[in-house]
Symmetry: D2
Subunit: 304 residues, 4 copies
């Protein structure tokens, strides 16, 4: 037992900083608190490692969940080399950039009433249905510019160039962070594109070309690190880039899913070792927690 | 209380059929058992309703989880009008069609050892890494045929025409069931396409054209029904087709996710009413259960 | 790979029995389906092993969830040597024995309205509040008989002797199955006892004496087997009996909890090996599923 | 929409305090972050309300999880009127008071090896098995004092009087906080008592007498508030005290369980309104999160 670390109990002190709280969690070292602390440590290390190419995969209801500033802030560190996300995140972030807001609601509600009021519910966050009008205007007005894109990544870059500063796509445009979104069709932005196509417009964007770029970036790196908030396509798309290039040396994921169903979203990072997605001696941790709780706390510790 | 149904207790009898077990669950009417029964009833009704256009969205580790025959069987009823799935499902199903198998394993294992043995782990199911060779052969040999595709849907249809009978894509090819897979790039099949592109081959498949087809089908229906096994892109892609056409009249989903995080995968079907994805008076139910348990049981009751 | 079992896909056939469905799940052998099958196999083996003393620990909302007949049926096999449960289960089962019922309801309800109607909600199962009157009558009428008890186990045995045939406590009384319920105070039955004590009656039942009996039974066995439906006190009370006597040779648990929080309810059975509660070479499995689904299915396979 | 609050995005600033982070979560107001903030607000209000009698129910692996100082700190506010807990918590806290420690471990371990090393695992926290010797010494040495107890509550009070300052039971002894633990038999402390009884010693502690005291406290209050960390017996024992006295006016629970299984641990507080355990207009919130994450964060905000 001499080599073992005792569980030091977390001590809350007056006015303690969030970073100090996470440090206390590191000293306790077990259960969820220990994982929050370890996640923050590894994330910090990965971002500080100049040789590390950081892939940030993000899914889930983060913008309607109040995480916009934090995601922007992470991108603004200039340490994210690749951002992979869902069409939903880009839609939610873009509608806020266009001046709309999400609203605090409740899940104990008559959804038919919400529908009459024009409110689309995501658990206890509401999006006004009118955002589709604003989005449609944007796509109609800018269609010619968008048709210059030769890949989903380029399309998102052009959208970014047309959006106000406070948006994921504009930030990534300016910082030259490629944004990958393989299932962009599956989103409000996808629906706007469908609307244009249905109106007879043309858009020639190949479905598979982005893969070359993300795998090349992973290949050309000295080492790779992955940071996943949620699972789904963003996590898996990064994971397969690791599999067909260089195994990740660092890994942090925040998930509420479980491994027992066998799906990619709930898979422990450790599983990636069998696939050659993660180095056997990588530093990694799975944080099992609602990301709207874990991410702010970890980011407060990493950012300092 | 006179109008309320009592909870009748489930009675197990000698040699009882699985369908009879689900009938007993219907009589109990509460908790998970009640939802299994209600799910089977609504699924049966939706499949029997000649006016109903049925959308089947499926995600998660179903083929490595032993659900292949059941998914094939559901498609072979000829009552599925649209199948939306993940690239992973199509990859797993295709490698089995090409003669490979998945293997019974364990999660309590040294993943580095598995990696040396060439086994890719999905919780307690192993896929031999050599499947990628078979897949690569298939794509190399059939590349010219595949390049005739003008959409992901057409690409999958052509792949189906080239596969043996015992496969999702061949069954759907023969029964003219369109298969949609917006994030096909994010899969083993996607990687094979990347391999060809990296080798200088061309493939011109637009990323957004399938949306027109799925939304048209939903528009042209008398009424729609949705059946979701798992969440992710398949569920959401069907849901947005409902939102921009006709609200679903029937809905059944099997999920292990929770609604509280706000994501699409864990969202209760009821939430879709606010979005105009589900009719307020639709028949629907959420089944909170591992799909490898719930789906066989429900299908045994529906199929009879 | 030659030594590995392939994942055989579950095949649903017309009129197939529930037992045959579980056999198919055994052939698939992975994920939740595989665990259901393994659970049924081990449970069957444990019940068939004449040398095995079977401890059945049960918690959770099973009687309002429609599981009464199955729990009775398991006890009626005469293969359960010890039953450990919660006060809630005994209360729910007893009120049904006294002629009351639980009712099918919904969780989407105004709980204040339910309160006015005298309905107590357990998710989507309702218990009429009037059951407390029937319970109170029973305890008032039989108080003198009950005061003869010298332990909680004896108290429950006397209650059983006074109840109709269709009840856990009467079945256990007749079959001489000791029923342990360390937290009986924490239940409707406990409240009835409080009512009598508050009215000045006396009851002299020592809190710790049952421990001697359960640990003795575990000591005097040739080998032990544990079957847990849910966690809480019933599981832990059996587990500590194993720890201080003979490690279990068989173990099956059905749980919806997770191991990551460190609590007893979600702990994998494997963890018990470190404590000396489970033999390192025991046959055991954790089934991660709603018990109202898993238990009927497994019992249909075990009972045949 | 004019009456709705927008989701304000959480902003992380340099050196921000944990309390400020929770304030930001209050401004976002949705999902898990919103619930953490609301939980902290209601807990603070309940503790500040001089008319409120606060019941603190705590279950789960909190001491081996690093929460000892926080639990002590909450008790030391002198605002907790009743503490209800598990035998496991009291055992873990007592063995630390006797000089033992818990250790940081891992769940990816051979439990048979741990067993040989004398380490008992709780997920990734290890307890040395030798703690039972220290516990046994304590109970042997102090047995005569303990036999003076006339209830479990008194027994725990006497144990507290004999322990060092840094322990739940000593703190509660000094502050005259009654500690209720209906299932004390189900714990290491229970096992020590069993050891004495097995050695022929006597202990006459009635199982049901504590109920009178907890219900009286709830009756005699102006209003009640409940704070639950975890579910199980502690939550339910408080809940039934509310049911048979005064409904709670404030409620905060931290849980990782789900409501759909119908059990008490996962039940939403709202359900208690139907039972008459919670006022329809009470202030209450369910926080769905690992308590080793949620509790430190909330306590940092409440304590300030």
């Amino acid at each position: 037992m001499s080599s073992m670390h005792p569980v030091n109990h977390i001590k809350i002190t007056s006015g303690m900083s969030a970073a100090e709280l996470v440090k206390q969690m590191s000293a306790s070292g077990v259960m969820g608190a220990g994982r929050i602390a370890k996640g923050a440590e590894i994330l910090q290390k990965m971002l500080a490692d100049k040789d590390c190419t950081v892939f940030f995969g993000q899914a889930g209801c983060m913008i309607p969940g109040g995480m916009k500033e934090i995601i922007h802030d992470i991108l603004l560190t200039r340490r994210i080399r690749v951002f992979v996300t869902t069409g939903a995140t880009l839609t939610h972030d873009t509608v806020e950039a266009l001046g709309y807001k999400h609203y605090q609601g409740t899940a104990s509600v008559d959804d038919a009433e919400l529908n009459k009021k024009g409110l689309d519910r995501m658990y206890d966050s509401y999006m006004p249905n009118e955002v589709y009008e604003g989005l449609e205007d944007f796509f109609q007005k800018n269609w010619d510019a968008l048709t210059k894109a030769k890949s989903i990544r380029e399309l998102l870059d052009i959208i970014g160039s047309l959006l106000p500063k406070e948006s994921i796509l504009r930030i990534c445009h300016e910082l030259k962070i490629p944004v990958f979104c393989p299932a962009l069709a599956d989103s409000g932005i996808g629906l706007m594109i469908w609307g244009r196509l249905a109106a007879g417009k043309k858009l020639d964007i190949p479905a598979f070309d982005d893969m070359k770029e993300i795998i090349s970036i992973a290949w050309d790196s000295k080492k790779n690190g992955v940071f996943y908030v949620g699972g789904g396509v963003p996590k898996n798309f990064c994971q397969q880039a690791m599999q067909f290039s260089k195994q990740a040396s660092y890994g942090v994921q925040i998930t509420t899913d479980r491994p027992e169903w066998g799906g990619s979203s709930g898979a422990e990072l450790r599983e990636g070792i069998s696939w050659g997605k993660l180095e056997p001696n990588a530093e990694f941790v799975d944080v099992f927690c609602d990301a709207t709780i874990a991410l702010p706390l970890m980011w407060a510790a990493v950012r300092k």
